[in-house]
Amino acid sequence: MSIFINKQTRVLVQGITGKQGSFHTAQMLEYGTNIVAGVSPGKGGQSVEGLPVYDTVFAAMEKEPVDASILFIPAPFAKDAAYEALSAGVKIIVLIPEHIPLHDAMDIMAYARKQDAVVVGPNTFGLVSSGSSKIGIMPNRYFVPGPVGIVSRSGTLCYEIVGHLTEHDIGTTTVVGLGGDRVVGLNFIDVLSRFEEDPETKAVILVGEIGGSSEEEAAAYISTSMKKPVIAYLAGRSAPPGKRMGHAGAIIERGRGTFESKVKALNAAGVEVAGLPTEVPALIKKILS
């Protein structure tokens, strides 16, 4: 089992003929993702990795209806491409690109809400239901099936943690990257609530960071609405206030979003926070046993 996507999820790749698009299409196919087509305006009729390429999402949908689309589209054109997929009826949109303008992101989210669709990202590694479907750019080999759900604001740090789990033979149900931008489609709560309902997920890891208040909101949700055990790791303990640490949200401004307030909120909700990534497997093992 898994959340959001599974083996049956039919996937479209927008921007499939580009360097990133074609590379990750191959990687996703290798992982077992059920990709059915690609889109690249002006490249209709070509094929990539044996998949048909269409000029528009509508053209693709006429022949190969899809459930999800992953976008490898340069930031300035990402809004148009996301609108296209949403308008054509795609219900899960994975926005890989970084540097999408903030107002474009807000526009996309407003339209997605209208179209009743889920947006993952932007600036995300995507999501993967381990062993069945990967719609993203994460390295295949670390994502093996198991009982742990993971939701993360950052990418490589999430791989790091998944890597430690793999070393300890702990697999994952679904791993979701929320994305590092200030406005993203999913928040922790959206994903935690799905994990809560997923029978296969036995424990959840929340990978957060300083800045914003989404970890605090997640903590409030966990304490009132979750029965499953959750542990956390948070990056940015050592970050000085006022300095943006790469991610648009990762900044302690006006005393808000500090490491301490997040740890406090999570602890109050019964969530243990690992001091180092290496400590995560032990915490999970303790919970699962």
């Binding site: 990133q20 903030l102 490589t156 960071e209 050592s238 970050a239 300095k243 790469g246 006006r254």
Partner: protein
């Protein structure tokens, strides 16, 4: 990109938001001339730091002589490590009340929000929560008059002042949306006998959208290395320590810094050179690091899109061309891990499997050197 007050006010003026009469001055003489024209004035240092008033960066003058004296005092003073080079000389407003008004982005709601308060002049965080009205805007319909009426009702504002808000707020929203602003803040928003006037302007433009605003000025108040990093689109922040850190991904870079601190070290910087870097980009990131004259290099690579062999190649290239002999602690796993290690071993650099080991080694190296 944060804009200076005077640039923000220029934009306000372009969007028909009332601002005080003003002149720019870069010398005390120009300040005196401006005062001769404007009468009672306020002289405001143009730096991006807040709290200019408390730091002495703002002064009043009621004649050209006073203006000259105050301008002399303020010009070239240091405010939060920034040198004052420009002054905004403005007519002194007859302020009946100081209000607060801003548009910003609410990440949790994923939409713009209006922030409005009768308690202007204070920092937004200092205003009591129930005195700061927040109103989210659905971008599919934009800012509508009913929203302004509702915001006014919640503030307890009616009559003529409400009408002023109904005139003003749509203009601020239009600017906020059209110019891709992250923040458009008026604090204080001055109620004068002539209506509402923007007594200050804090405008931040989304860096990711600057490409579609070629007409906007480019403001740079950063160190040389930070500017260089921005050019290269590398996320870079200078810190105080002596271990130069680079990693691929914002979260893992932060986690690396945390671990450096955990093991008793001090990082010289935050440097995330992102995913999928090629040799060139790796080399550029490294050169940036060397600019801080660190004692030790700590490189933490978890290869996903990023290929270890390419990072290794970039490293060797810079090492040879620049003749680096700094101690290095190198962690490298993931895509093309074996190939990367082979390249580094050829130049005598061993790599770590675990981030823990690499960080500990780096901290040890600072003690040793």
């Amino acid at each position: 990109m944060k804009l200076y007050e005077y640039l923000g006010k220029k934009l306000f003026h372009r969007y028909d938001i009332p601002v005080p009469q003003s002149k720019m001055a870069e010398s005390s003489e120009e300040a005196a001339e401006a005062a001769a024209e404007l009468g009672d004035v306020v002289i405001k240092s143009q730096v991006l730091s807040g709290k200019r008033g408390k730091a002495g960066g703002i002064a009043f003058a009621s004649n050209p002589g006073e203006a000259r004296t105050e301008a002399e005092r303020i010009l070239n003073m240091r405010l939060n490590d920034l040198t004052v080079e420009k002054l905004l000389v403005e007519e002194k407003l007859q302020i009946e009340q100081e209000l607060y008004l801003a548009l910003t982005v609410d990440g949790a709601l994923r939409c713009p929000v209006v922030l409005a308060s009768l308690d202007g002049g204070m920092d937004v965080e200092e205003v009591a929560e129930d005195r700061m009205i927040k109103w989210p805007i659905d971008v599919s319909i934009g800012l509508q008059d009913y929203m302004t009426r509702e915001i006014c009702r919640k503030m307890g504002v009616s009559g003529a002042l409400q009408k002023e808000f109904i005139k003003l707020l749509p203009k601020l929203y239009k600017m906020f949306r059209e110019l891709d602003a992250e923040l458009a803040e008026i604090n204080p928003l001055a109620l004068t006998p002539d209506g509402l006037v923007a007594a200050d302007a804090k405008v931040t433009i989304d860096d990711d959208a600057l490409y579609r605003h070629p007409q906007l000025p480019r403001v740079k108040e950063k160190t040389d290395l930070e500017l260089k990093a921005e050019e290269l689109d590398i996320a870079y922040v200078e810190l105080e320590g002596d271990i130069a850190v680079m990693a691929n991904g914002a979260g893992i870079t932060m986690a690396t810094l945390d671990m450096v601190q955990h093991y008793g070290g001090a990082a010289a910087n935050f440097l995330d050179f992102g995913g999928g870097a090629d040799v060139e980009r790796t080399a550029q990131a490294l050169e940036l690091l060397l600019g801080t004259n660190p004692k030790v290099l700590l490189i933490n690579i978890f290869g996903g899109i990023t290929r270890c062999d390419i990072v290794a190649e970039g490293f060797v290239k810079v090492r040879e061309s620049k003749g680096i002999d700094l101690p290095v602690s190198f962690r490298m796993v993931g895509t093309k891990e074996a190939e990367g290690r082979a390249i580094l071993e050829k130049v005598g650099i061993k790599t770590f499997n675990s981030m823990d080991d690499a960080v500990r080694h780096a901290v040890e190296l600072t003690g040793a050197s």
